[in-house]
């Protein structure tokens, strides 16, 4: 008898993991463990007949536990969840979908770098909105359901791309542009590590990402914020990039006094991004001798980018 967990799979017609047509060819043939072969051949059997059932759902959990990148299995799992939701009543929806979200969290914790988990989680959130909340996304408690898992994962790896992408998706989906809570979140991350570029990027999106949305950021407040961050860590490229980003449309001339404090200091080396902006200000002001001089200086202090500075200095 073949059983996993509390389910019996004896009647499942198992399928092989390798094609019979490539028998005898070693290329790319993985020497699967017996355990994996057993699970996967059973799952393939279930998928082949498109069985949608609790035992099929359980099998996807076992396989995803082994290979979280198995996109075919994720898609099959989603089909199972949808079917279960269709077949249960309103109370059932709560239990099934909430359990599913919790399970997603556990898988995410065990697989920090994965392309499928977060997309799947977003699909489950959509199912919850449509089934539990009658399409009203305001009823989904983002703070309770999403923020703790994000915090935990960002604490582990503060620049986890997948997690930040999910956070960006939340801002879009739940219209959190300009949200003080989102801004605080980035401020907290930046207080911890001002070089966390993911936090900077997220902040930019929260403030300026919602093109056409109602929110409009207060430029002067934001300029003050980023200037303070630059002072905390004058050589940090993330905050300089952000400063350049928010000033891109207005031009850099207004930053002249600010950057000069980093270009004229005698006791330490000049700050490259400050020199760079200074050179661009001189260009805006058409002071050719001055900008050439600054680019000459940049060539000396940043020799690996000599060619780059050279091209701008002429």
């Amino acid at each position: 008898m073949t059983s996993f967990g509390s389910y019996n799979y004896s009647d499942v017609k198992t399928l092989p993991l390798d094609s019979p047509e490539t028998k005898g060819i070693a290329v790319c043939k993985i020497l699967y463990s017996e355990e994996y072969k057993k699970l996967m051949s059973c799952l393939r059997g279930l998928m082949a007949v498109n069985e949608l059932s609790p035992r099929a759902l359980y099998m996807t959990e076992l396989v995803i536990g082994k290979v979280a990148a198995h996109y075919t299995v994720w898609l099959y799992r989603y089909k199972n969840i949808k079917k279960i939701v269709e077949e249960t009543d309103k109370e059932g929806w709560h239990r099934v979908l909430e359990d599913e979200l919790k399970w997603c969290g556990r898988v995410a914790l065990a697989n920090e770098k994965n392309y499928q988990i977060w997309h799947y989680r977003e699909d489950i959130i959509e199912l919850m909105i449509s089934h539990l909340y009658g399409g009203d996304s305001d009823k989904y408690d983002v703070e309770k359901e999403e923020f703790p898992i994000i915090e935990t994962l960002i604490d582990r790896d503060e620049k986890n791309y997948h997690v930040w992408t999910h956070r960006r998706w939340l801002v879009e989906r739940f219209k959190m542009y300009g949200s003080p809570r989102e801004l605080e979140f980035t401020e907290k991350r930046l207080a911890e590590d001002v070089r966390n570029n993911s936090a900077w990027n997220h902040r930019f999106f929260v403030l300026f990402g919602g093109k056409g949305e109602e929110f409009e950021a207060d430029f002067d407040t934001e300029l003050g914020f980023v200037k303070r961050q630059v002072c905390r860590s004058p050589t940090n490229p993330s905050s300089w990039n952000y400063l350049r980003g928010i000033c891109a449309k207005k031009g850099f001339v207004q930053l002249k006094e600010f950057v000069t404090q980093f270009t004229e200091q005698k006791e330490t080396d000049p700050v490259i991004p400050a020199l760079e902006i200074l050179a661009e200000i001189y260009k805006e002001e058409k002071q050719q001798d001055k900008w050439r001089e600054v680019y000459e200086q940049l060539k000396k202090v940043d020799p690996i980018r000599q060619n780059y500075w050279e091209s701008y200095g002429v």
Binding site: C28, N196, I304, N307
Partner: protein
């Protein structure tokens, strides 16, 4: 301070700084040792050893621990075979035939569409389709090309296209720059790129460019080397260099790209304030070579610095290539570090006439650099010229494209 990548000694010790300083120190030690040994002992490419690595795994079964890549079979083949050929290896004996047969066993076909899956019995996926078709291109035998059904693959691609111009990886899956790039590569090499397929795609890529200049996976995401590669290479399929310059912001992209290179390491990082990683020698390096064409700008990345990083810091013992010192080799890094090495040794040149005639992606030609001030191009380190758009050594994409000419 003078030599470092700009972290001031008085700054609060954060996660970023701690990791960065550790890598800088490790790599500085390696360079000091290399310099102490004298210039005649400068590391060269361990060609034989790496060929042994790729050859070994192309000829025998893979250890059970590799089940983690069970949804990435075509990638394993593409990485190994591409690296093998870049190093000067061949597909002699039955290797080519075996590779082709295995890739074809991953084909998923219905009466309407055809795509390649991550492994036998799985669903068709755009990344697998890209890796699978590139692997067949590397085998280079028309006999296997004939197994691809262009009409059905076109239907498959159309089914994954989204309203906003991007593509999904798989029905019901995520859409991003990777998926979109893979779709364009496949369509371009099979000669099925048409208006319907590419409507809105260039504009969608442009929306992924961030305030930093690089591109994120989707609009609003952080600029990242992998996605930036996908976006620019994708755009090179969609438009000639002169037009690309009108679609995206070139100066900020050039600035972001050249800032990926670190002064001490010489290697490239994938994002601002992240560590150097050998694989970005391709994602950022290969992209930079295309950017040189598009921007008309000289060298964006310092090739000598990057080649030094690759030769001194990315070669594992006894074989294989790696992310950074202390890492273990894998197929992915072995391929992309070698792609990056090829970029160091060649320029990409866009031939307008050729591009107009054959499709923009086919207008790029590779020229070996013969200028010591740019790169010391020793015979011992030589790898094949790479066409970065498709991620294949020069000529392979053209051969497949010519076969599928209408």
């Amino acid at each position: 301070m003078d030599e470092s990548n700009g972290i001031s000694p008085s700054e609060k010790l954060t996660d970023t700084i701690e990791k960065q300083l550790k890598v800088e120190n490790d790599i500085q030690d390696i360079y000091d040792e290399v310099l102490a040994q004298g210039s005649d002992k400068f590391p060269t490419l361990h060609r034989k050893a790496h060929l042994k690595y790729t050859g070994l795994f192309l000829h025998r079964e893979l250890p059970s621990a590799m089940y983690k890549l069970d949804a990435s079979h075509p990638w394993i083949i593409y990485w190994l075979l591409n690296a093998h050929l870049l190093l000067g290896g061949t597909t002699e004996d039955k290797m080519g035939e075996e590779v082709a047969r295995v890739i074809l066993s991953y084909i998923y076909e219905t009466d309407r569409y055809q795509g390649i899956s991550g492994g036998y019995g799985q669903l068709p996926h755009l990344a697998s389709t890209y890796a699978g078709i590139m692997s067949l291109a590397l085998v280079g035998d028309e006999k296997w090309y004939a197994k691809l059904n262009r009409t059905k693959i076109y239907t498959f691609l159309v089914s994954l296209k989204l309203e906003n111009g991007s593509f999904r990886m798989v029905q019901g899956g995520e859409s991003d720059c990777r998926a979109t790039y893979c779709a364009l590569c496949v369509a371009s090499i099979l000669g099925i790129l048409d208006e319907k397929l590419i409507k809105g795609t260039a504009e969608w890529f442009a929306r992924c460019q961030t305030y930093e200049g690089g591109f994120g996976g989707e609009p609003g995401d952080e600029a990242h080397g992998g996605y930036t590669f996908c976006a620019l290479a994708g755009l090179c399929i969609l438009a000639p260099p002169s037009r690309i310059a009108q679609i995206i912001d070139i100066p900020t992209l050039v600035r972001w790209t050249c800032n990926r290179q670190y002064a001490i390491e010489g290697g490239l990082s994938g994002r601002t304030n992240k560590l150097v990683d050998g694989c970005y020698s391709h994602w950022v390096g290969g992209m930079s070579a295309l950017l040189e064409c598009v921007s008309g700008y000289g060298q964006v990345v310092n090739r000598t610095g990057l080649q030094n990083y690759i030769l001194c810091c990315c070669q594992a013992q006894p074989f294989g290539l790696i992310d950074k010192p202390g890492c273990n080799p894998d197929f992915y890094h072995t391929n992309y570090v070698l792609c990056g090495l090829s970029m160091c040794q060649h320029f990409q040149v866009y031939n307008e006439k050729l591009g107009e005639k054959e499709g923009y992606a086919f207008g790029y030609q590779q020229i070996r650099i013969n200028d010591d001030t740019i790169i010391d191009n020793l015979e011992a380190n030589r790898v094949l010229p790479l066409d970065p758009i498709f991620g294949l050594p020069a000529g392979y994409s053209r051969t497949m494209r010519d076969y599928f000419r209408d």
